[in-house]
Amino acid sequence: MAGFLLNHDSCPVVKNILLLDSEGKRVAVKYYSGDWPTNSAKLAFEKSIFTKTQKTNARTEAEITMFENNIIVYKFVQDLYFFVTGGDDENELVLATVLQGFFDAVTLLLRNNVDQREALENLDLILLCLDEIVDGGMVLETDGSIIAGKVSSHNLDDGAPLSEQTITQALATAREHLTRSLLR
């Protein structure tokens, strides 16, 4: 599904969203385009992007750079590094809005303690958050507080009895599938 490719010029398309730690390692990443087919290509991309941007000061305002025909908007907070990548002729400001939305949502979800430790402890929230921002390259939502609201409502209702049954069913199936794919 990571290779899901949106090939229309007309829509603003996000190629990937990365959240890296202070050594350039992954915290949470999500790719929406087929530009980086293999995992090693992705890792290489993350590494080169990180070394390229590391020295710049993007603490207060989002910074921007060009890299391999991609536009990358990035922002650093403490030991977390946020990146949003888009195509060559993408509207830079749309990407910046996405980045800002992602950043705001994460800040809200982590209750202002934006650092690596907190992020890893709440990795589920961050992954959900990525899922709510962009769907297969399409921008889904850019307002940080709405994203955070969506993600947390997810969590609260997880244990609600109303749909208990369906969730358990789904969970069972997912588990079953997971074991099967592991055994294969």
Binding site: L95, D124, D135, M138, D157, T173
Partner: protein, 798 residues
């Protein structure tokens, strides 16, 4: 979270069913979050059949009150459109309704989906845009989309000034929107319009100028990048922003600074160059190599634009040449200087000295040899050649073998051209005879003898120069192949036997089977080119062996449609006074065996040709290609053209598929093939020249013919250029076949060898005048005036 897992795993069909049923339940649940997510997951994993089942729910969801649910359904729709377009297209009414929704993002997604549904219908898109530009769209993202669609409509509708007025007004009104995103998108859309006038540009440039002084790097970057693009097409429009941009040169973000500088270089006028140069020098030291290359290229184009300023620019280049830098960077600088020297005569002496200083401590062998070669060509023509000798001889003393060898060649060139230096060069070359490297000694000996002038090797000065400066006239790869195939024997290697055709593709087809390699000779090591293969094939056939040397073989031309019973293509072989058609036939029917295959050629429309021989194919089994040949005679050296109609004649025998044996008696049959034409381009060999200007000047204007032609209406210049290149069948030189978009004029350089081994060079100047009328000036130089005339005739008739 569970949804996320399912989505990532996207399970296979049988598992989908279980999950689907539970997701369906979720889709009808009361909690909006569940519904939204269930929809998204479901659309990810579902397939065509299941989709029809849930279609009803999706339609409902699109018009749902809750924006989250509606958005989810719409975005899913966009994704589904790629796999199941028919189903999604049925939703258009619901989507239309959603466009009017009050929630910002629903509007955005609905618009995107709606546009994609109607993507292929220009009229519908245009209608959609017209209705929406009237002002019901509120969300900034949706506005951006709308702007893109608008500019798309403008682009497609062409340049009817009356028609796109409302659209342009819409774009302009967007410049006053309160969201920066929209302003920028609109400004960019305006600048990217192909036929934008300066007056229309001005408002867009003004807002971009405001962005330049913004505190946000992203905004600055976006603005400067757009301006940079504008500067390529409308440099004058951007001049207003120059002051703002100069402050950006010292921007913290290097990308912004570089973009600002290159933009400034493009828009700058003569007076500001000096100041700019000073600023660039300050900041060159702390940017990355790749950006430096961009700067160097910008400077090069600037220098070509303002030749008068070459002095400060050349100084700048030589300064940065002395600094640290990687190979690519240095190469860019050296290339720039070389180009400047070539194009600006005044800059020659200074530039050469800079290069000389550079090679004094150059760590790159490749660059050193390149500079030495260049020095050898240009140095002797300067006012005081003797001052370069010292630099060159230093190379002989200090450098590695490759550089030493090329330095020796350079010395010899000086000796040949400058008589006063000859004795001194002699002394230097004699010293080189004691070099430790073979190549260096060889070269020194060779040059000593040639320069010696005692008539032993070459007679006149003319020939010495020819020997030193003349190009080989054959592509190096072909020469290499030929030399490898050359066997030591009595006969000296003949350079004229090297094929001159530029190798375009590797061997496409194997030679005819049944030829044993001759016992003694080692099989050729290098892969043979197509031409070699054809030549060998043809000379192996006794009927054609007497026709002499193969001049040219065309690319295969298909004579049948794809997927027919018999596939036939033809290769035209041009000889001095003969033409041979090689028909490559393939039988695609397993139940048939073809025998006695021949092609009946009717040359009634080609009067200058007379059929002399044909060579039928004995048998053509299923799926093995075979060749049959027909030869024609024509008057020697005359580029006769004509049209030939072909019929394939053969005897069909049924083959039993189980045993593979053919029946004894067959039926005679014919199969109509498409017509074949011999055109003038077939008599032209594509031979490139490395330096067109030199070649052009060396041919002289004795046999020059210049004329002008109107090509009539054409879509753009690219089309015109390609048409002429194809018509003449010549090799475009120095990348001049590419036309920059939007340019109003273009110069294309072509070279080739015409039948009878006559070298031909063509300079084409294209210009657009009036509504897409393309006019062309054609200047031909060749070794023979009649050939020049012939080229003009080709163009006039084509």
């Amino acid at each position: 979270m569970v949804y996320l897992i399912i989505k990532e795993l996207s399970p296979s069909a049988d598992e989908v069913i279980i999950v689907t049923s539970s997701l369906m339940k979720d889709m009808n649940s009361r909690t909006d979050m569940y519904r939204a997510n269930a929809i998204r997951v479901l659309c990810r994993i579902t397939d065509g059949t299941l989709l029809t089942q849930i279609e009803r729910y999706l339609k409902q969801a699109i018009v749902d009150k809750n924006p989250v649910v509606a958005s989810a359904a719409l975005v899913s729709g966009i994704h589904l459109l790629q796999t199941n377009p028919e189903i999604v297209k049925r939703w258009s009414n619901e989507v239309q309704e959603a466009v009017q929704s009050r929630a910002a993002l629903v509007q955005f997604h609905a618009l995107a989906l709606l546009h994609q549904i109607r993507q292929n219908d220009r009229l519908a898109v245009s209608k959609l845009v017209t209705s929406l530009t009237k002002g019901s769209v509120r969300s900034p993202l949706a506005q951006c989309l709308l702007i893109r669609y608008t500019s798309q409509v403008i682009r497609e509708s062409g340049i009817s000034q009356t028609g796109d007025r409302p659209f342009y007004d819409y774009l302009e009104s967007c410049l006053r929107h309160k969201a920066e995103m929209v302003i920028f998108e609109a400004a960019r859309a305006i600048t990217e319009l192909t036929s934008v006038t300066t007056r229309e540009l001005t408002p867009a440039i003004t807002v971009l100028q405001l962005f330049l002084s913004s505190s946000k790097p992203v905004l600055r970057f976006a603005a400067v990048r757009t301006l940079n693009k504008v500067a390529m097409t409308h440099p004058m429009a951007v001049t207003n922003c120059n002051i703002d941009m100069e402050s950006l040169i010292s921007d913290q973000n290097r990308s912004i600074a570089t973009l600002a500088i290159t933009t400034l270089l493009k828009t700058g006028n003569e007076s500001s160059i000096d100041r700019l140069m000073k600023q660039i020098t300050n900041f060159m030291s702390d940017i990355a190599d790749e950006f430096k290359i961009v700067v160097v290229e910008a400077i090069r184009s600037l220098c070509l634009k303002f030749p008068l300023k070459y002095r400060s620019l050349m100084n700048f280049l030589s300064n940065i040449l002395r600094e640290e830098g990687g190979f690519e960077y240095k190469k860019a600088i050296v290339d720039s200087i070389v180009i400047l020297i070539r194009d600006i005569p005044d800059a020659k002496e200074g530039g050469l000295l800079h290069l000389c200083e550079f090679i004094e401590d150059c760590e790159f062998t490749y660059l050193s040899t390149q500079i030495l070669h260049f020095l050898g060509n240009e140095g002797p023509k300067t006012s005081d050649p003797s001052k370069y000798i010292r630099y060159i001889y230093n190379r002989v003393i200090l450098e590695n073998a490759t550089v030493r060898a090329s330095a020796v060649s350079t010395l010899a060139k000086f000796g040949a051209l400058v008589d006063s230096l000859k004795p001194r060069i002699f002394v230097l070359l004699k010293r080189c005879l004691f070099d430790s490297d073979d190549e260096v000694r060889d070269r020194a000996t060779l040059y000593l003898n040639t320069l010696g002038g005692d008539g032993a090797v070459v007679e006149t000065d003319e020939e010495v120069k020819e020997f030193l400066f003349g190009s080989l006239g054959v592509p190096l790869t072909n020469l290499e192949t030929s030399l490898k195939n050359y066997e030591p024997s009595e006969e000296p290697f003949d350079i004229h036997s090297v094929p001159k055709e530029v190798k375009t593709q590797p061997l496409a087809e194997k030679k005819a089977p049944g030829k044993k390699p001759t016992g003694l000779a080692a099989p050729p090591v290098a892969p043979t080119s197509t031409v070699d293969a054809y030549e060998r094939l043809l000379s192996s056939i006794p009927e054609f062996a007497s026709y002499g040397k193969l001049f040219k073989s065309s690319a295969p031309v298909e004579l049948t449609e794809a997927e027919t019973e018999y596939a036939v293509n033809v290769v035209k072989h041009i000889f001095e006074s003969h033409v041979v058609f090689q028909y490559n036939c393939t039988n695609t029917i397993p139940e048939q065996l073809l025998e006695n295959v021949s092609v009946i050629v009717d040359a009634s429309e080609a009067e200058e040709f007379s059929e002399v021989a044909s060579k039928p194919l004995k048998s053509l089994p299923y799926d093995t290609p075979g060749q049959t040949f027909v030869a024609f005679e024509r008057q020697e050296g005359v580029p006769a053209v004509g049209k030939f109609s072909n019929t394939l004649r053969f005897i069909v025998k049924e083959v039993d598929p189980s045993t593979g044996e053919a029946e004894d008696d067959g039926v005679e049959d014919e199969y109509q093939l498409e017509d074949l034409e011999v055109v003038s381009a077939d008599y032209m060999l594509k031979v490139g020249v490395s330096n067109f200007r030199n070649a052009w000047e060396s041919l002289g204007d004795d046999c020059e013919k210049v004329d002008e032609y109107g090509l009539g209406p054409m879509e753009n210049l690219t089309e015109a250029v390609n048409a002429v290149i194809n018509l003449l069948g010549m090799q475009p030189c120095e990348g001049t076949e590419g036309v920059p978009s939007n340019s109003r004029s273009h110069i294309c350089l072509l070279s080739g060898v015409y039948i009878g081994n006559v070298k031909v060079l063509v300079k084409l100047s294209f210009g657009v005048g009036g509504p897409k009328e393309v006019a062309m000036k054609l200047a031909v130089r060749s070794e023979d005036i009649s050939v020049s005339d012939a080229i003009h005739e080709i163009v006039a008739s084509g």
